[in-house]
């Protein structure tokens, strides 16, 4: 009969709540970055190349989350997620859940919130690819997808790394919008920034210090990497790649 193990006093089913928050944060940032990679890449390409009038409206729309208070965005998302809205109703009928105060809801919010941080650097990278180079590839028999994957992507590797890093870091630092649409549900929507807020509220300064310093160092290291990468001269072999 096994009831307890002397000397191993940490409960097996209660993990440190801050570690849970860390996991959720990393998962949220990872999923968001991956979705942005799929959605933001074609959007950035379209914005970089289009002469269509719609580009004039889509471009500021994408940039909106940079200037908008996160609470504004969160407020509208909350309304969108409500089962009274068409979107919320459709989501509930498909998944059986509501979006508000769930991890999925957070992902949608984060994708919108971090969109400009992914799209803008990538758009700049795409714009720097000369049309003549693509014309040359076309006359050599390369169709549109061939040109994109074999000319544009390798030339914009650095742009992809910068865009992905910024989107990831920005999602990690999200606070206001999470508070609005995610609430503070441990194990579901309590991300690091919320947990930090809690620690301060409950005067747990030791934990708050640890977490704040961790986020600070993490953000600094990421930005240092991005700026170092950006500083490299064009045409030089890249120093980082997007994980293969």
């Amino acid at each position: 009969m096994v009831t307890s193990y002397p000397g191993k006093r940490i409960d097996n089913d209660v993990i440190d709540p801050d570690l849970v928050s860390l996991t959720i944060t990393l998962k949220l940032a990872g999923v968001t970055t991956f979705i942005l990679f799929l959605v933001g890449t074609p959007l950035a390409w379209w914005l970089a190349r289009t002469r269509h009038i719609a580009g004039f409206f889509i471009e500021p729309l994408v940039a909106l989350p940079i200037v908008l208070p996160p609470t504004v965005l969160g407020f509208y998302l909350l309304i969108l997620f409500s089962p009274n809205s068409g979107f919320g109703k459709a989501w509930t009928s498909i998944t059986g859940n509501t979006l508000a105060f769930t991890f999925e809801g957070l992902v949608i919010g984060s994708v919108i919130y971090s969109l400009p941080f992914y799209v803008q650097p990538l758009q700049v990278a795409f714009e720097s690819v000369k049309q003549d180079l693509l014309d040359a590839a076309a006359t050599l028999g390369a169709g549109p997808y061939d040109r994109f994957f074999n000319i544009v992507v390798p030339l914009c590797r650095r742009g992809f790394v910068v865009a992905g890093t910024l989107a990831f870091a920005h999602t990690v630092g999200e606070f206001g919008i999470v508070l609005m649409i995610g609430g503070n549900i441990p194990g579901e929507t309590r991300v690091l920034s919320i947990a930090l807020f809690d620690h301060v509220e409950t005067l747990q300064y030791g934990r708050a210090h640890l977490m704040a310093a961790g986020l600070l160092v993490f953000s600094f290291v990421l930005l240092l990497a991005v700026y170092t990468l950006n500083r490299g001269r064009p045409g030089q072999p890249r120093r980082l790649s997007l994980g293969g």
């Binding site: 000369k130 003549d132 180079l133 014309d135 040359a136 590839a137 076309a138 006359t139 050599l140 028999g141 390369a142 169709g143 061939d146 074999n150 000319i151 390798p154 030339l155 045409g235």
Partner: protein, 363 residues
């Protein structure tokens, strides 16, 4: 491949391209004209890199295939053409060899061109492992040309290919192009604003001005017309084609055959039977009605007067013919009257200087 284009295109700045052009299925067709004459736009339309707007009337066909009309647009990657740009547009993330492989892996047609042969013609072996940003302008352009050849292009369009290359390298790369021209059956369209390049290379010439074709025809014939030269002043010149018959090492002169007559010039770099082009400036040609004797001038040709300029100025251009080729002479109007020169008359052209095209800059 024979390309026909019927184009009426309006640009926003009020520029109108209005022309009808047929690219000969062999040889080099040159599009010549000042910047803004529409030659590059025409070339890009042929390649499918531009397509105009719905208001424009554009019809381009290649043999029996429609490339562009009201309902059809074949994208550039499906036209089987090669395009050589002024800036070479080598892919910077690939080295020279990888750039060539990019083309080889996407061949338009299986041509019987041997890759080793192309490497040799364009002297690429020393360049293969280089990074493209280590290449000089001339080297990069040779790679760009090789890329097009290995790609199996059935027609090669060249847009000011020497425009970004320094003068010294130009005279080195032109012989490469000339060699391709002699060895391949691929038609080329060559856009340039350098008359010298064109007279060295081209077989056919379209002169463009303000979006229209001002004149067209075989280069040798067109280059000696009074119309084309009357505004050239001192630089009026005719281009002739000769064949090297023998070298005379004693005097370091070569004897060339020009329509059955002999012309002596320094052409040591050529081999016997090579065909060479000479530029004969009109101001260095004088006319005598009887055969000059005891003259220091070596090159004296028996020719026939075709026509002369009707101009009130002190000097005029006279167009002279020997069999199928023409030269120009600039003489004073007074001499014309004193000698009573008439069209159809047999005269002697004394040529004081001749220059091999593109040779002057290479030495």
């Amino acid at each position: 491949m024979e390309i026909r284009a019927d184009i009426h295109l309006t640009r926003s700045a009020g520029f109108i391209l209005d022309m009808n052009i047929t690219v000969q299925p062999n040889g080099i067709t040159a599009l010549f004209g000042p910047s803004g004459s529409g030659k590059s736009t025409l070339l890009r339309l042929l390649a499918g890199l531009e397509r105009g707007t719905v208001q424009d009337r554009i019809r381009i066909t290649s043999d029996d295939t429609v490339w562009q009309d009201e309902t059809t647009f074949v994208p550039p990657e499906k036209r089987g053409i090669g395009f050589v740009f002024q800036q070479q547009q080598l892919f910077p993330h690939l080295n020279v060899q990888e750039n060539l492989l990019f083309a080889l892996n996407r061949q338009h047609t299986q041509n019987d061109l041997d890759a080793d042969q192309v490497y040799e013609w364009l002297n690429l072996m020393p360049l293969l492992d280089k990074n493209v940003n280590q290449l000089s302008g001339g080297e990069a352009q040779r790679v760009a040309i090789a890329r097009v050849l290995l790609n199996g292009a059935r027609c090669i369009l060249l847009d000011e290919p020497l425009g970004s290359i320094d003068t010294a390298s130009r005279s080195r790369i032109l012989p490469y192009l000339d060699r391709l021209h002699r060895n391949l059956q691929i038609p080329m369209v060559y856009v340039s604003h350098s008359y010298e390049e064109i007279s060295y290379l081209a077989d056919y010439l379209f002169v463009l001005e303000d979006g229209k074709i001002k004149s067209k025809g075989s280069l040798l014939e067109l280059s000696s017309t009074l119309e084309l030269n009357s505004t050239e002043g001192d630089s009026a010149a005719a281009v002739i084609q000769c064949r090297v018959s023998r070298h005379d090492p004693t005097y370091r002169l070569s004897e060339l055959d020009f329509e059955g007559a002999k012309i002596f010039v320094n052409a040591e770099n050529y081999q016997v039977d090579d065909s060479v082009r000479l530029r004969i400036p009109a101001r260095d040609v004088s006319i005598a009605t009887s055969q000059p004797v005891n003259s220091s001038i070596l090159n004296i040709l028996e020719v026939e007067v075709v026509s002369f300029e009707e101009s009130p100025g002190p000097s005029i251009l006279v167009r002279l013919r020997r069999n199928n080729q023409f030269i120009l002479a600039r003489i004073t109007r007074k001499s014309l009257n004193i000698l009573n020169i008439q069209p159809g008359q047999k005269v002697y052209a004394q040529i004081k200087s001749v220059a091999l095209l593109m040779e002057s800059t290479s030495e």
